[in-house]
């Protein structure tokens, strides 16, 4: 039976003295220190002040509270990390799973410049074909049909029906001139 998609309960896996929660607690604490240092530089100063209200909220107060939150909660996580038992599911991934995820992320990252260069329909067709084949689909005919039909349908829905903009199909302009699309 498929387990619930809501993550339920914790306390799974063996106890480790120094575990990933400890690492992240330290990371958040370190982030807190960094934030306190960079806050003065990262908040724009007004060009001039007309009537300064001494009771008004300074732009840096909320960031300082957030930085303090990182620090305090980071230390809290470090403290309790030695007693909570949670499984690091990243560590349990095998090489194949990691490769699958990284390849997919890489394709997604390349999708953006491809989309801007060759248009939504062509870029999407290439991405669908590539990912579908990578995911194990061997029905190339179905892949070809879906790779062409679905991006064109999405393009039509967004640009013609919802009147929004997607980087055009390379021959969109001549086709619209011919009143085909």
């Amino acid at each position: 039976m498929n387990p619930s998609k809501e993550s339920i309960g914790n306390n799974e896996g063996p106890t480790r003295r120094f575990n990933f929660n400890t690492v992240f607690g330290l990371v958040f604490f370190f982030l807190s220190v960094v934030l306190f240092f960079i806050i003065p530089d990262q908040i724009e100063k007004p060009l001039f002040v007309l009537d300064e209200n001494e009771n008004a909220l300074e732009p840096s107060l909320f960031p300082r509270l957030v930085a303090a939150g990182f620090g305090g909660l980071g230390l809290w996580l470090v403290f309790i990390s030695f007693s909570i038992r949670e499984e690091n599911k990243l560590r349990n991934l095998d090489r194949q799973a990691i490769a699958n995820v990284l390849v997919t992320l890489l394709v997604m990252a390349l999708y953006t410049p491809l989309l801007m260069q060759v248009g939504f329909v062509v870029a999407s067709a290439l991405v669908i074909a590539a990912l579908s084949t990578f995911f194990g689909n061997k029905s190339y005919g179905v892949t070809a049909v879906v790779s062409i039909a679905v991006p064109i349908s999405i393009f039509f829905v967004f640009t013609k029906f919802l009147a929004t903009y997607l980087p055009p199909f390379p021959i969109d302009t001549p086709l619209t001139r011919l009143y085909i699309l």
């Binding site: 339920i8 996580l77 992320l105």
Partner: protein
């Protein structure tokens, strides 16, 4: 308030609203029937469509997806013991056993009728309660709003999955992300790191789609996109559900509806817990509890009525206070904001008829739900065996299209992928993203009302809150106690759910 309701009811009676809700219901059921795809994911991906439709079409569309998705998860739960959504886990206790007995059709129809009944009843309760709560909400000023927002963020962190402090940390991460861009009071740039694209802040929609939809895709492809189901499924097996069979479960359905309605009004609990509580209550009240788990129609009815009864009341804190209670209402608040409507105390006063129109549309959606569900069951039964190797890439393309169209900015797509990776890693390391997203959305409002409170307090914040704003003082003092009680209850319920699941796995 009554006049607003009547005007809203009149506004809702539009054929295009009903048509788009039907489309939403179909899409929701489709996604809900797919194991591995969640309702949240569907709503995140379809959210951009609602941006370009008027409020009375776009928001009912998303509500249709929501309702359809919660019910759709019961179809594979009953047919192949695989819940399509988390809310349908309790349905797997009796559903598959009924299928094995040749009563698949009865089980599916019982799930449909109890879902519709639970959903419809709770929607009516929502309409009855929302007016009075909105009137109280109008008396809230900046100090009260600040305290309520802070309480809501803490409560969501306490009731999120995983360790409490990790929920709080994700909340703080969300507050930090919300600070990127311009501060809400002086409009001064903060944390842009001299990157021009950050001056307008981090865009909400790519973040939502990134953290809710892409991690599901990445999870699914860890083992390549193998087909989940290979067996043939006959959803029409066995006779139709009889009126006597439905009537025999009616008391259970009513009990579960009450449970789901109450749980729906409390932020952070959700459909999964409601379904389990409804099932447990039915079993405890039954004269033959030993039959539960072996193919009892009452078991399916109890779980489905409870989980669907949560749908309507989750809108109460969202619409009256602007506080989303779970990850689904977080997406809905994104839809409202995109339409220029800011949920909160002022919304009912300024746009009362529109709010009631949306709620009336939600009630009418249940009628469509019944009709579409009845005829679409055989179709969605086939959906469970659709090839994921084709569906996942299509989902990626749709996610990219939806993220790009609001601003036509390629930067949004990098935000999408970045938050997709972030959400995937967070999920693996048991950091719940919902507190982060809620804090991102509510952080600006929190900071703004904090600033207003400081000005009103004229330098003496403690005196102002504890002597001049008693409601704020009560909320501030009550926050630790409420948080502790909810955290304890939520932890206990999750342990019970986990114990129940491991009992079912071992049997």
């Amino acid at each position: 308030m009554w006049e607003s309701f009547l005007l809203g009811a009149e506004m809702a009676m539009r054929w295009d609203t009903f048509a788009i809700m039907s489309v939403g219901l179909l899409l929701g059921m489709f996604v809900g029937a797919l194991p591995g795809f969640t309702t949240v994911m569907a709503m995140a991906i379809l959210l951009p469509l609602s941006f370009f439709l008027e409020p009375l079409i776009g928001i009912p569309f998303l509500l249709g997806v929501y309702k359809g998705g919660i019910y759709g998860g019961s179809i594979p739960a009953i047919l192949v013991a695989m819940p399509g959504t988390g809310a349908a886990v309790a349905t797997t206790f009796d559903g598959p056993a009924l299928t094995k007995k040749g009563k698949a059709r009865k089980a599916l129809e019982m799930a449909l009728y109890s879902s519709v009944f639970g959903d419809l009843s709770s929607d009516i309760v929502t309409i009855m309660f929302i007016g009075p709560i909105a009137l109280v909400a109008l008396k809230i000023g900046p100090p009260e709003l600040m305290a309520i927002l802070f309480l809501a963020l803490i409560v969501i962190s306490a009731t999120s999955s995983g360790v409490f402090v990790k929920g709080l940390l994700m909340m703080v991460v969300g507050l930090f992300f919300g600070m990127v861009g311009q501060d809400p009071i002086g409009a001064l740039s903060r944390f842009t790191f001299d990157i021009f694209a950050f001056r307008a802040g981090i865009p909400l929609l790519p973040m939502l789609i990134g953290v809710y939809a892409l991690p599901e895709i990445l999870n699914a492809i860890e083992n390549k996109a193998t087909d989940m189901i290979r067996q043939t499924i006959n959803s029409r097996e066995g006779g139709a559900l009889t009126f006597q069979e439905f009537r025999s479960c009616f008391r259970t359905i009513c009990r579960s509806t009450v449970i789901g309605t109450v749980i729906g009004m409390i932020p952070g609990i959700g459909q999964v817990v409601a379904a389990f509580m409804g099932y447990a209550a039915a079993k405890n009240a039954s004269k033959t509890p030993e039959e539960f788990g072996k193919g009892k129609l009452e078991g399916v009815a109890a779980a489905e009525a409870a989980n669907n009864a949560v749908n309507g009341p989750t809108m109460v804190p969202l619409l009256t206070l602007g506080i989303p209670g779970d990850n689904i209402t977080v997406i809905l608040i994104g839809a409202f904001i995109a339409q220029g409507l800011r949920p909160g105390p002022q919304l009912m006063a300024e746009q009362g008829p529109l709010v009631f129109a949306i709620l009336v549309a939600m009630v009418c959606a249940n009628v469509l739900f019944l009709i579409i569900g009845y005829f679409a069951i055989p179709l969605f039964a086939k959906v469970v065996s659709i090839r994921k190797s084709i569906l996942l890439p299509l989902t990626v393309v749709f996610a990219f299209a939806g993220s790009y169209v609001p601003r036509s900015d390629p930067f949004d797509l990098f935000v999408l992928v970045g938050f997709g990776a972030f959400g995937y890693i967070a999920k693996k390391l048991k950091f719940d993203v919902t507190p982060m997203v809620m804090a991102f959305i509510l952080g600006t409002e929190l900071e703004y009302s904090f600033g207003q409170t400081l000005i009103l307090a004229q330098g003496n914040l403690a005196h102002y809150i504890f002597f001049e704003r008693p409601i704020t003082a009560a909320i501030v003092l009550g926050t630790p106690l409420i948080t502790y009680l909810l955290w304890r209850r939520s932890s206990r319920l999750r342990r019970e759910v986990a114990a129940k699941l491991s009992d079912e796995n071992s049997s």
